[in-house]
Symmetry: C3
Subunit: 174 residues, 3 copies
Amino acid sequence: MKNVTFITGGIKSGKSSYAVKLAMQYKKPRIFIATAEAFDDEMKKRIDMHKQERGRNFETIEEHIHLSKALKSSIGSICIIDCITVWISNLLYYEKIKEIELFLETLQNHPCDIIIVSNEVGMGIMPNNKLSRKYADLLGTTNQKIAKTANSVIFMISGIPLYIKKGGITNEPT
Amino acid sequence: MKNVTFITGGIKSGKSSYAVKLAMQYKKPRIFIATAEAFDDEMKKRIDMHKQERGRNFETIEEHIHLSKALKSSIGSICIIDCITVWISNLLYYEKIKEIELFLETLQNHPCDIIIVSNEVGMGIMPNNKLSRKYADLLGTTNQKIAKTANSVIFMISGIPLYIKKGGITNEPT
Amino acid sequence: MKNVTFITGGIKSGKSSYAVKLAMQYKKPRIFIATAEAFDDEMKKRIDMHKQERGRNFETIEEHIHLSKALKSSIGSICIIDCITVWISNLLYYEKIKEIELFLETLQNHPCDIIIVSNEVGMGIMPNNKLSRKYADLLGTTNQKIAKTANSVIFMISGIPLYIKKGGITNEPT
């Protein structure tokens, strides 16, 4: 049985580092699927910095849209997807939101061990514009579906991993 | 003894769905108190969608201001209040913030089983305007008072319910 | 062995009150290091209100920049630092971010029992300006480093303390 691990949290809460730490525990080929496109120098710098941190332990694949396809060609490996936040924003920009459904389908077939990084963006004052609300809704809904499929869900707070689902189990009273 | 359950979390984190799921476990008349007013088409669409999801299992009451009164006329039922976030914003708009005190008083008398939905809005960069800060302060303070009275407090993250208070108990060291 | 306790959470989530509650359990001189400067009347009012709440149980020190120095002169006491959020913003404004390193070094030497209050600001839609992103990054990174050193880390939600690290231990599976 393959693992699906979902890591969510705020900006600079340690999500990516923890994803890398978890992936290092797997003794199989490691793939890092980066969803970000380098639109400007600030972005390019961030991407390069992250790539250097991972070093030789990962093969990096840049895939901004077709995550389902990327997963299907990663059979036998442990795959980090970093991150859903940027991917959803790409899908809105390129009008490809149907990719979400394809991705969720592929996820349920467990093609490989997968660690998925996303963000919480809905716990601040919502900006007064329709696009931000649409984005927050779509990301929130997608996060829910991924978390439902995942057997581990981790909420990162100030670098501390809080497991809110472990082996498929939450802390709901029975 | 009646239950007071408080559900908080971000946008599209699954709060309302979980409130409905919990309410379905009660074998008594179910009331859904909706605090939102349909100011525009986007809002109207959201409200109608939610109403359809609940179906025939709930009587829906629209109450934008007088939550205390609405609770008092719901004796013997299980009541969802959805949500405090919008209600506080109504109270500011109509200059009725004294209603908060009335509501908290009624809550402590446990007129019926109650499930209360609210939002976390204070974990983002605070917008540089006084009204947003006032709103965030008032909502935060009210959330604290409700959570104190509640015997269960649930923090929703990506659709996963995290019980941070269960049967009146938190995970504080003793 | 001295304790380092880190309390984080959203606006009006009860962080400062909980810090005071914890400090009251120590039977030693209590110092409250306030990092905020009163730039305007709104701020001044907030600061005075907080000071009154603490009453005679604390000596209040106002230190906007040099937290390391303030800690070093507090040996033998229990010290609340409230808060890192405002301090980081001061450091950016006065171009003194090297103070962060000094502070973290001092922290690791445990000069006194310390309770540190900070904020989560990275769980909302990020405003579209570079300074906000820089600030969120710097605060997030600093929060991570403090949380790593701390033996207790508490995430406040609607006034409920959620211990995500207790006696150095998280809920990570082993």
